[in-house]
């Protein structure tokens, strides 16, 4: 959103301005862009640096930009028609300011660690409901896994690989210097669940000014523990000193399912080739149009017949076109003493399941300014109000709609299935109409859609206020208080006759209040001593966190479908609490010698309430350097800039609360309640975790800064990790926390950018990023070499010494010494009994992206291709629906099929079986052979495309605004490569460490296409 000055409009006609642009070495600058400030008109300089531009009435300022040079604003007073401009070499670019830990601004050239500024200008155009998804493919070393819960889902953001064996691996989110709580209280998992949403999804893309990614622990030593996984430093917009600006941004985006699964349309409901009106499978006879008994217990269906014929397209037609309409208004302005920015954004979204909707209102007020020359202040309040209907269940959950629509027998039409309920004439009760009444696992998809509902409401306030006192030119102090508080209110309804999960209905509520308060005090020292500069910060911080949740559930309803907590058969009330406090003191200092060399040192000591008294206090230092080689050495002239950097840092991490002492739980049950000792063995000797990291890197710019790259290498070691291990339950406890383990991550990160084409008509810039991380569990515990972190129906997620985290094990074919598949007497492959067969590792080998930005006259085009290569993903969906006989691949061998394998005696198998028996053997819900349903997760896709048109002056003239643009946007448009069969490997069962390698009844992937209008008044 741009804004220009109101009040500068006068009644003059247009004029022609000509001139010449030169560098400070007096050489002409070709291909520089000359723009009317705040307007749409632009021109390009020729090879001799000359230009000519038509300026509208009242416009007196031209902005000249060129890669490798500082942009310049030149005043062309009324009446003047020529102007010559001298551009200074791009020290601005070199002196790019980034915001680092604690909201401190630093010159990027002096940083001793890797950061990446993210191009955020398309975020508010090609919108994502969760900003995390906009980051995919743009940041080297950033890996995002999306949960498949539809509108309102969460995303897992990991930088430089997983560090923690069982703990949080996600990057810290910092907004305007204040950390934001990014807890996900109910991440979906493989066995089903409903994603509870995360913190990052609450961020409004319209308010983002910049995002800076601090990848390593070193960058954030000052944040303490939570930043050990890197941080996303987000700055939001502020008011300006230059009068009033108003801007409007509107988007309409349509969302459509990308159907990757292929279904068969030959065989219908039944087993062994026999029609069965109650069957949940499509192993029946050929659908030949003959009349068969109508399914379902609805009285008007009983005894009826209907035509047994294929119903192609039921899966894709079940989903409708989703949409997202967002409108935002931003007003900014102010004078010398006070500046304000206010924005209001309204988002209305509807998913491809049409009752999955979201309404989100965000209001944001930022006021900053000064009180005299020595005191300044900054403050912000953001209020978010969000209502999400029917966030989709994920995974194996019986109320996961996707499960039921995928399993729909191939002869049942959507129209017929839509007749999903009826009133039982005998009892007067509302009942489900389904082909297999009372099924253990099956439901009519429309019943689940309409008779199981979820409503999530969130109200969130984030605010901060800071005051800075600068008594001396080289000394200042700042005090800052930040609060992030939100209330979640969940309401879930299950109608009676929702088979096996709520036969008597259910009503669940959850109220949660989360509050984080950060109080910081800083002192800043900035002083030069001749060639030496000192830039030091010291301070103290206190962070308090509390999360309180109260839940109710009914265990069945006494009166049918009356959704009130007191209408409970077996009322259950839960209350959970987590309260922590952390205090810290810290200092960091940069010592610079001329423009050459900067040495950085920092130190922090934290005191955490979750640790025992003896180890409550823990200290961690860091040290680094940066050297501007181009200022030290006499480099060839084509090298415009070269820098070397290096950093070593230690970060400590505390534990979650309440691990130190034995607790007993009182629960409802029996005549007066049950008491039981809790199964987590207390751990009074808890110690903080320690991560050490080392990184070196270089940043080089070439040919007048036209091309550049940043190459970094890092290694980090996380030891003393706190994690839970299962212990023999006969010991009296089921698990205990231990301090052990050593995880090493080593990797390279590369970002490149270049101006490929630059002439008077066309500009083409390319940004490229690439990252490869190698993760290794060096040591688990002295006596434990392998730990199963989680198990689902398909996989065990395992950590093993000497292997990377995230190893997947499942069942597979039993093979002989030659690797041939062993077949039993019935001609079916033998499957291993346990999950003993290695499937692969779930984490990618490398990630990368290429973003192209092309502008031609008033048009600009950007497109982003992202790649996530390597890693494996298993599909529980395929395991189930192949055994159901609904997919196209199950057509082969329906009548007879000989498995390519050998008998136990080594002779070739000749016993015929058939497709049904084969897929039932290898697939199904309970003991699928993951080997058959595990795929290479590599994928490359056209992630984003934005085509914008800046309204030219002759269009704007006479309209009440100063500038405007209209854009066509698209995201996730198509795959260039996808090795998974029938699904998008990026959509995981949940946003957890252990769900990355599993797809489990996910929503189909979606592409979005939309239009965006941006106006500035």
């Amino acid at each position: 959103m741009g804004s220009i000055l109101i009040g500068s409009v006068s009644a003059q006609s247009t004029r022609q301005v000509t001139g010449k642009v030169t560098g400070n070495d007096n050489a002409p600058v070709a291909s520089a862009t000359v723009q009317v400030k705040g307007g749409a008109q632009s021109a390009m300089t020729g090879n001799d640096g000359s230009f000519s531009i038509t300026t509208p009435a009242g416009a007196t300022v031209l902005t000249i930009t060129s890669a490798g040079f500082l942009s310049a604003d030149v005043e062309v007073p009324t009446g003047q028609s020529t102007v010559n401009v001298t551009l200074n070499a791009d020290n601005k670019q070199l002196n790019e300011v980034v915001v680092t830990a604690m909201g401190l601004s630093k010159s990027k050239r002096t940083l001793s660690y890797a950061t990446q500024q993210v191009q955020t200008n398309t975020f508010s155009k090609a919108r994502e409901l969760n900003v995390a998804n906009s980051l995919i493919g743009r940041v080297a070393g950033l890996d995002v896994a999306r949960s498949s819960s539809g509108v309102g889902g969460s995303s897992r953001v990991v930088l430089r690989g997983d560090r923690s064996i069982t703990g949080n691996n996600q990057a810290l989110i910092v907004i305007d210097g204040v950390p934001m709580d990014n807890s996900n209280f109910s991440p979906g998992n493989a066995n089903g669940g409903r994603d509870g949403g995360d913190g990052i999804s609450s961020i409004n893309p319209d308010d983002i000014e910049s995002i800076n990614v601090l990848r390593g622990a070193s960058a954030t030593a000052l944040y303490g523990a939570r930043a050990a996984n890197g941080a996303l430093i987000i700055n939001t917009k502020k008011g300006t000193r230059k009068g009033l600006g108003v801007s409007v941004n509107s988007s309409y985006i349509a969302e459509q399912a990308i159907v990757l699964q292929e279904f068969q349309d030959v065989y219908g409901q039944g087993s062994a080739g026999v029609y069965n009106r109650a069957s949940e499978f499509s192993w029946g006879p050929k659908m030949d149009g003959s009349q068969v008994a109508m399914w379902g217990p609805k009285p008007s269906n009983v005894g009826q017949t209907y035509s047994f014929k294929p119903q192609p397209g039921t899966y894709e037609n079940f989903y409708s076109t989703g949409n997202q309409a967002s409108n935002s208004l931003a007003v900014s302005g102010g004078g010398d003493r006070m500046q304000a920015y206010f924005s209001y954004t309204n988002v209305n979204a509807k998913g491809i399941v049409d009752n999955n909707t979201m309404k989100r209102n965000t209001m944001n007020l930022r006021i900053s300014g000064d009180l005299g020359s020595k005191v300044s202040y900054d403050s912000k309040v953001t209020y978010l109000d969000e209502v999400i209907n029917n966030r989709q269940q994920t995974g194996e959950a019986f109320a996961n709609l996707q499960r039921h629509i995928l399993r729909l027998p191939r002869n049942i039409s959507l129209q017929a299935a839509e007749d999903y309920d009826f009133i039982n004439p005998a009892s007067g009760q509302l009942r489900q109409n389904y082909w297999n009444p009372g099924s253990n696992g099956g439901q009519n998809p429309y019943w689940i859609k309409n008779r199981v509902s979820a409503l999530d409401k969130r109200a969130r306030v984030t605010a901060f206020g800071s005051m800075t006192y600068k008594p001396l030119e080289w000394l200042s102090f700042m005090g800052r208080a930040g609060i992030d508080q939100y209330n979640d209110d969940f309401e879930g309804k299950w109608y009676n006759n929702t088979y096996t999960i709520a036969d008597n209905g259910d009503y669940q509520t959850l109220f949660r209040k989360v509050r984080e308060i950060n109080l910081d005090f800083f002192g800043f020292v900035k002083k030069s001593f001749g060639d030496f500069n000192v830039d030091a910060t010291f301070g103290a911080s206190r962070q308090t966190f509390s999360s309180l949740a109260q839940s109710t559930s009914t265990g069945g309803l006494n009166r049918d479908n009356l959704f009130i907590p007191s209408n409970a058969r077996s009322p259950q009330i839960g209350r959970s609490l987590a309260e922590t406090e952390k205090q810290g003191v810290f200092m960091t200092a940069d010592f610079s010698f001329r423009d050459f060399l900067t040495l950085t040192a920092s130190a922090r000591n934290d005191w955490s309430s979750t640790l025992p008294k003896e180890s409550r206090s823990y200290f961690f230092p860091s040290a680094g350097f940066s050297a501007i080689l181009s200022n030290i050495l006499d480099l060839p002239t084509f090298i415009s800039f070269a820098k070397l950097r290096g950093n070593y840092a230690v970060t400590g991490n505390d534990a979650r609360p309440y691990l130190l002492n034995q607790t007993y739980t009182f629960s409802a049950g029996g005549p007066t309640g049950f008491i039981s000792r809790d199964g987590v063995r207390p751990f009074p000797d808890l110690k903080p975790e320690l991560t050490t990291s080392l990184e070196v890197g270089t940043e080089v710019r070439l040919l007048n800064n036209r091309f550049g790259f940043d190459l970094g290498w890092y290694t980090s070691e996380s030891k003393n990790q706190l994690f839970s291990v299962a212990i023999p339950p006969a010991s009296g406890w089921s698990s205990q926390f231990i301090n052990a383990g050593l995880v090493r991550n080593t990797g390279v990160e590369l970002t490149m950018n270049g101006a490929i084409v630059r002439n008077s008509a066309l500009r083409w810039d390319v940004d490229l990023n690439f990252a490869r991380n190698t993760n290794l569990l060096v040591e688990l515990t002295p006596d434990l070499k392998r730990l199963v972190l989680a198990g689902d129906f398909v996989n065990d997620v395992v950590v093993e010494e000497g292997k990377p985290l995230g190893q997947l094990y499942s069942r597979g074919y039993q093979r002989n010494a030659q690797g041939q598949i062993l077949v039993d007497a019935t001609g079916l492959p033998r499957i291993s009994a346990g999950k003993t067969v290695f499937m692969g590792n779930s984490r990618p080998d490398w990630t990368g992206g290429i973003n192209n930005r092309i502008s031609w006259k008033s048009f600009s085009l950007s497109f982003l291709i992202s790649a996530r290569m390597g890693g494996y993903v298993s599909s529980f969906t395929n395991a189930v629906i192949y055994a159901d006989g609904v997919t196209k691949k199950t057509l082969e061998g329906r009548d007879s099929y000989v498995v390519d394998g050998v008998r136990d005696d080594g002779s070739k198998n000749t016993t015929a079986t058939n497709a049904e028996k084969f897929w039932v053997r290898v697939g199904g819900r309970n003991t699928p052979a993951g080997e058959v349903f595990t795929y290479d997760a590599s994928n490359i896709r056209l992630r984003e495309l934005v085509l914008s048109y800046n309204l030219p002056n002759n269009v704007i003239k006479g309209l009440p605004f100063q500038s405007g643009s209209i854009s066509l946007v698209g995201r996730n448009l198509f795959f260039l490569l996808n090795r998974a069969e029938g699904f998008d490997p990026e959509l995981t069962a949940g946003a957890q460490n252990t769900t990355v390698g599993l797809e489990s009844f996910s929503l189909p992937s979606t592409r979005t296409v939309g239009v965006n209008l941006n106006l500035s008044f």
Binding site: W283, M467, S576, N926
Partner: protein, 513 residues
């Protein structure tokens, strides 16, 4: 606001901010979970007893009892299409849940009661200690009868590795516990324990606990009657002399509440099992009045119908083998009654049948086998509300189990009638067949006694997916669990050694040698 004052205000603000950085004195209190208790006190022992009692029978009921013992004993047959345990597949994840569910949910509260009430314990109470010990036998018995050697004497030690005990040692400790506990309870005869209603079985009635303990002793005695006949005889005779359960008013039934429900009723909502062909053959053959209160007519046909155990996944997809074509359990076991139907622990009838079998063995059981057998039938009938002429007719019945009309032409289960036969071999089969009916739905006892005696003569399974145990063979035990192999490998190794055979479903338990 005058500018000159502002710096002072600002400094004040900064100082105020800084003063909020207090010291860490409050950390201990902050790091205490206010939603939990920090200790188990004397009052809490009652609640812990209630938890131990309930969870010992409820823990992982589906994956422990329903998916194994109830199918192996052919009380039911599986109708859940993708469940393989009725085809002898010892599904590891289910057994793992069954094992861990018991040790992690039932054992901690039981240990809490024992540690607190033991002599010299903080809430020492010999009577509650005795009852908790009797319950310990009830809790561990079905577990050792699944796996054989299990963690027993070292339970609760907190050690990293928990050694398994031999089944012989466990059974012998059971006998010792029961004997000692009954002795300790003699002083409290006629009294009601302070547990009151927290004893969800007998409301703290000491006399009933004594009879229950003796009946348990009698049950164990019969179990070891092949492997150690002398021990069996002496334990059985001592138990009967001490007084066992005789009347259905003493039936050990655990009360359920709105927050401690009957797990069997809950599971029936899932439509995973239906009446077995074995039950249909016997109940229909004997015109047994209990059929109507145990099972319900099939939803689709209105007829009582059972199906064979071990159908393949494809066969289960056929209409005739579906849940609607076969008999579910009767109304009292449906989910609507899960908060009211009590959970069976032990029927008094069982003791009569145990005594009848003991009498056949030549033990002093206080009666003749025939009388004891008939008293068992009468007591069982009374538990279901049947008395008088109908019961007399039943006992005199000469009809035999029937052949079924089904797709696999199932023959009659056996040729024995209800009326007591003349030969000891037939009598033994009759006693065990009637005990099998009377013990319903206690699948644990039914499976254990079937393994021990081979009675009733259950049907071979239609299919087996476990090559080691074909359909016409018997699963002798359940294999050790993946969780134990991962967390307690040395313990499992000690168990395999003590098992005396490979860790698979064919190895016979100690008492089944």
């Amino acid at each position: 606001m005058k500018q000159t004052k502002i710096p002072h205000l600002s400094v004040l603000l900064l100082l105020a901010t800084f003063s909020l950085f207090s010291c860490t004195e409050k950390f201990d209190e902050l790091n205490t979970d206010k939603t939990k208790l920090t200790e188990l006190d004397a009052v809490g022992v009652n609640n812990a007893f209630a938890a131990a009692q309930y969870r010992a029978v409820q823990a992982s009921w589906q994956t422990f009892q329903s998916l194994f013992a109830d199918l192996q004993s052919q009380y039911y047959a599986n109708v859940a299409i993708n469940f393989p345990s009725d085809r002898n597949v010892m599904v590891g994840s289910w057994l793992n849940g069954a094992f861990n569910g018991f040790y992690s949910s039932a054992i901690p509260p039981l240990l809490g009661v024992l540690d607190n009430t033991k002599p010299g314990g903080p809430a020492a109470n010999p009577a509650i200690y005795a009852v908790a010990n009797i319950w310990k036998v009830q809790a561990f018995l079905p577990r050792t009868d699944y796996w054989g050697p299990i963690p027993y004497s070292k339970v609760g030690s907190g050690d990293k590795s928990i050694e398994y005990d031999t089944q012989e040692a466990i059974y012998k400790d059971f006998f010792a516990i029961l004997k000692q506990s009954v002795q300790n309870l003699q002083a409290y005869r006629g009294q009601t324990l302070a547990l009151g209603a927290n004893d969800q079985v007998y409301n703290g009635n000491v006399d009933k606990w004594i009879r229950f303990a003796n009946s348990m002793r009698l049950r164990l005695a019969l179990r070891v009657s092949a492997v150690d006949p002398a021990l069996a005889k002496s334990e059985a005779e001592a138990a009967v002399a001490g007084g066992v359960l005789t009347s259905n008013v003493d039936d050990a039934l655990l009360k359920t509440t709105t927050n401690s429900l009957n797990p069997m009723c809950q599971a029936t909502a899932w439509n995973e099992f239906r009446m077995s062909a074995a039950m249909e053959s016997v109940l229909k053959g004997y015109n047994d009045p209990r059929m109507n209160v145990m099972y319900a007519p099939a939803a689709a046909t209105g007829q009582y119908k059972g199906l064979r155990n071990g159908y393949s996944q494809v066969q289960l997809g056929l209409t005739e083998n579906g849940p609607n074509a076969n008999s579910n359990v009767a109304t009292r076991y449906l989910p609507d009654n899960m908060f009211s139907t009590p959970f069976l622990v032990m029927y008094a009838a069982e003791s009569w049948f145990l005594r009848a079998e003991g009498a056949l063995n030549g033990w002093a059981m206080g009666g003749l086998a025939k009388d004891l057998y008939e008293s068992g039938i009468r007591t069982s009938m009374a538990s279901w509300g049947f008395t008088g002429a109908a019961v007399n007719t039943y006992i005199a019945g000469t009809t035999r189990p029937i052949a079924l009309t089904d797709g696999v032409r199932t023959p009659a289960l056996s040729d024995i009638p209800v009326r007591f036969e003349a030969t000891a071999a037939k009598q033994r089969e009759q006693i065990l067949t009637q005990k099998w009916i009377a013990n319903w739905p206690n699948g644990h006892e039914a499976w254990a006694e079937f393994r021990r005696t081979g009675f009733p003569k259950l049907y071979p399974r239609i299919n087996s997916d476990e090559p080691l145990v074909p359909g016409n063979s018997v699963v002798r035990r359940t294999p050790y669990t993946s969780g134990e192999l991962a967390t307690n490998p040395k313990g499992v190794a000690s168990g395999v050694t003590k098992l005396g055979g490979p860790d698979n479903p064919t190895t016979r338990l100690w008492w089944n040698k």
